[in-house]
């Protein structure tokens, strides 16, 4: 029964224009990242071809080369792998911790709810990038620290998004019945409440993936995320500044990659929202 429901959602998503385009872009993005991980890039991303510096796109270098003669196409592929790594792990961490806090907070209520939500308020008082910047300052720059920074920034959002529906669901008859039958709080939260609040959370996960992609690119652009010589679309874009007039492809390809990645996850999120939340459908 459950599998059938999942199939239905997937089929509905495929027949939703936003969902379909989102799935195509996100799948391509995954494939590019995986190809790089399996060594299928035209060149090693950091390999320098000194004679071929700043080459325009050609049959040898599909997207041209940079100032060090590195192949842009291979670096775009490595960038896809790195940004996907940051996005997936940071959103996984943020969603697990955030949803856990949100569900506990909403379900138990009282002082604990007040305490958790007031702590979340403290994090909400910082603009997202400032918070990420502060975390990076404490932890230092680098890929994994960017993951942690982004995870910390998005945890309160998941807590808040999870808590709201819990307040409504916990009063419903089936939860009360479960309680009457002697189910433990943990069981009620895991088996009864969580499956019923998943819809907004799935949409949130997809949108958070697009934000984390953006935040990673922003941090790397500022020199605080992925560290050279490793490639990140943000780093590549930052490196293209000043050279854009001589070699516009340096800017063009990472720009397209970032925009497409963000667009893909945004469209997927929109499609999921249409499919999972019938109230939103009339708005489109």
């Amino acid at each position: 029964m459950k599998a059938k429901t999942k199939d239905n959602i997937f089929i509905k998503l495929l027949s939703n224009p936003s969902g379909l385009i989102g799935i195509i872009i996100v799948t391509s993005y995954f494939l590019v990242a995986l190809s790089y991980s399996f060594g299928l890039s035209p060149f090693p991303a950091a390999e320098q071809h000194v004679i071929d510096r700043l080459q325009a796109p050609s049959s040898k270098y599909l997207m041209g080369t940079d100032l060090f003669g590195r192949d842009i196409a291979s670096r775009i592929m490595e960038g896809a792998k790195n940004s996907l790594y940051v996005a997936l792990i940071s959103v996984f961490l943020a969603s697990v911790v955030g949803i856990f806090l949100g569900v506990i907070s909403g379900f138990i209520g009282g002082h604990l709810d007040n305490l958790i939500m007031r702590i979340m308020d403290i994090f909400f008082a910082f603009p997202a990038l400032l918070l990420a910047l502060l975390v990076i300052t404490v932890l230092g720059t680098g890929l994994n620290n960017a993951v942690l920074a982004i995870a910390i920034v998005y945890t309160p959002i998941f807590a808040r998004v999870a808590r709201g529906p819990v307040l409504a669901v916990k009063e419903m008859d089936f939860v009360q019945a479960g309680r009457g039958l002697g189910a433990s709080s943990a069981r009620l939260m895991l088996k009864h409440i969580l499956p019923n609040i998943l819809a907004p959370l799935i949409v949130q996960i997809s949108l958070a993936l697009s934000w984390s992609l953006l935040t990673e690119a922003s941090l790397s652009f500022l020199g605080l995320g992925v560290q050279p010589p490793a490639a990140s679309w943000g780093v590549m874009l930052s490196e293209s500044r000043g050279l854009a007039e001589r070699a516009p492809w340096l800017m063009m390809f990472p720009a397209i990659a970032i925009s497409l990645g963000v667009l893909g996850f945004n469209l997927l999120g929109d499609g999921l929202r249409d499919v999972l939340d019938p109230r939103m459908r009339s708005r489109k």
Binding site: R118, I119, D121, I122, F123, F124, A125, F126, P127, A128, L129, L130, L133, L134, V135, I136, T137, V138, L214, A217, S218, F221, L222, G234, L237, S240, R241, A244, E245, P248, M251, A255, I258, S259, L260, V262, L263, N266, L267, S282, R283
Partner: protein, 319 residues
């Protein structure tokens, strides 16, 4: 209303204490201290006596808890500490840098509203028409383009096609030289405004669509009111609340310093001050600025809530 305001201001206190605790102790987790950060490699040449004297001078010899309370007591009197590297009080630095960020925020918000609201309205009124498709395409593109990307593109277009370098020259404040000031701020403001207009458009459109389907709009139409009046007086006014929430969030974000944009356009605003303070481990400056920004965000949230009541008479904060 007064009671509500008083309660809201009171609720600022625990959040601000929380913010100050987070920032104060987080920054002390960083290896090294302000003396090393200030003197760099020369810190290694200090004798033990000199180091102790400097620590004492900056109050770094006391336990962290005591340092926190000393700093906390100072903030109550408006003293946010002293920036070692700038040689100025933190409050003065914020006062110097904040006007630029404020001006940039105001310009960016105006631009985003001028672009986002009309497109959102047109899109909603002509739902599923060609105009709507164009409007939605605009918002999709706007949402997918990060602001640093737009900035890079703007600089590229200006320098390659118009031979203008928007980042050149020293910054002039509006009072010093209004023309130069606007010239320097207009492109960063367009960058931020464009990026934000996509969200404004999206929110205006979806909120208008929801309102246009409601009974009171149908009633207004059936009373024979002119369509323009129905849209402006009845629908738009009610559709504004979610848009205002969005604008509130965005203003809070922008007042915190548009870090990347200030960095790219070399503007000496609050964002750039913080980025430098963070990399130079200027304890007092980071703490003071973060506290100031948090206070801004909380105040904006409060203003947004008060605006709700002004727009929608059903929302009342009277006890």
């Amino acid at each position: 209303m007064t009671t509500y305001l008083f309660k809201r201001f009171l609720s600022f206190i625990p959040t601000l204490i929380g913010v100050s605790l987070v920032v104060f102790f987080a920054i002390r987790l960083i290896p090294g201290d302000a003396i090393i950060a200030t003197l760099g490699t020369e810190a290694g040449m200090l004798t033990e006596t000199q180091r102790i004297a400097l620590k004492k001078y900056y109050g770094l010899d006391k336990p962290a808890i005591q340092q926190y309370f000393i700093w906390g007591a100072g903030t109550l009197t408006g003293n946010l500490g002293f920036s070692v590297r700038h040689g100025k009080p933190v409050t003065q630095l914020i006062r110097e840098r904040f006007p630029l960020t404020l001006e940039l925020t105001i310009l960016a918000v105006i631009i985003s509203l001028l672009i986002g609201i009309p497109i959102g309205l047109l899109s909603a009124i002509h739902q599923n028409s060609f105009i709507d498709i164009l409007g939605r395409l605009f918002s999709l593109i706007g949402l997918a383009l990060p602001n640093f990307l737009i900035a890079t593109l703007i600089i590229y277009v200006l320098s390659v096609y118009f031979h203008i370098l928007p980042t050149s020259g020293d910054y002039a404040s509006f009072l010093q030289d209004p023309v130069k000031n606007i010239q320097q701020l207009i492109f960063p403001a367009i960058t931020l405004g464009f990026a934000f207009s996509a969200s404004v458009m999206r929110m205006t459109r979806s909120s208008m669509l929801e309102v246009l389907n409601q009974d009171f709009v149908r009633t207004a139409r059936s009373k024979g009111l002119v369509e323009r009046r129905v849209i402006i007086r009845h629908a738009f006014r009610n559709a504004l609340i979610p848009v205002i929430t969005l604008i509130g969030v965005e203003i809070g974000y922008l007042l915190g310093g548009a870090f990347i944009i200030e960095q790219i356009f070399a503007l000496p605003g609050l964002g750039r001050l913080i980025i430098n303070a963070v990399s130079q481990r200027e304890y007092a400056l980071v703490q003071g600025s973060a506290l100031f920004i948090a206070l801004n965000v909380l105040t904006i949230n409060l203003l947004v809530d008060l605006l709700y009541a002004a727009l929608d008479p059903r929302i009342s904060y009277e006890s």
